[in-house]
Amino acid sequence: MSLLQKLKNRVRSKSIHVCFVDVGSCNGCDIEVLACLAPRYDIEQYGIYVHNNPREADILLVMGAVTPQWVDKLVAIWEKIPEPKAAIAIGNCPISGCVYNRRDSYIDPPAAKHIPIAAQVPGCPPRPTEILAAILSLAPTIFENYEEKKR
């Protein structure tokens, strides 16, 4: 491993930019992600920044079962995120569709059908600490030695 790669690994594990997109949930998961911003959980001490801008994000949090309007737009958002990137499914909805996955509904789950999902946090909704733990445990493994793996 080169010195440059080591430096990159270190920097990347301390600076994770997060973007969240709600693709049709009950917004219970949205407010739990927002609660992560609260000084009580203080995600910035771990170097996680929430900008909600896909063009500068590393990690995309996907919430909600996929509604028809999002089928193409979710892919567009995913493509806008620069490499290296990962998507985390928050809550039951992007994993299975949860209670909405019934006859007569308009949704099209799971989210993994549309974009590659790296990790899943089940729960309806999951607690902020669980979301935080998922981001923190996933980011270093995905972004470690990214340039070497690509080669």
Binding site: P68, Q69, K73, Y106
Partner: protein
């Protein structure tokens, strides 16, 4: 031809809004009142209104029935304020013109029923055009 980047065809989604129970009742009531089929009313709504207005139509319709056109019987029959302010099918200026036309007809001696029928036809044309 201009192609839009993010614009989507919203007609199916607007139709989905209009088929829930409360909306359906309202659409049928309006269709009965105008004397046209419910699908024509739906089409006029989908063409004119944006999605949040569509979602809000039943409560606007209820408010309209409670409060609109309290003053005169002719205006109530025609739905002057109901179809312009509460359910904005027709612009207010045009609706005012149509209503005053009907009032003029009554003033010049035409029987009230006949004038209202003519007025209703004009309003129907304005809504469906």
């Amino acid at each position: 031809m201009t192609t839009y980047l993010y614009e989507k065809d919203l007609r199916q989604m607007k139709y989905n809004i209009l088929i829930s129970t409360r909306h359906d009742l309202m659409v049928r009531e309006i269709a009965d009142r105008l004397g046209v089929g419910p699908n024509q009313v739906r089409l006029a709504m989908i063409r004119r209104f944006d999605m949040s207005l569509l979602e809000n139509l039943p409560s606007r319709y209820e408010q309209g029935q409670k409060m609109a056109d309290a003053g005169s019987r002719v205006a109530k029959e025609l739905g002057c304020e109901l179809f312009s302010r509460f359910i904005p099918f027709v612009e207010e200026e045009r609706m005012q013109a149509l209503c005053s036309e009907v009032r003029d007809m009554i003033d010049t001696g035409l029987p009230e029923e006949e004038a209202i029928t003519t007025g209703k036809r004009r309003i129907r044309e304005a809504i469906l055009q």
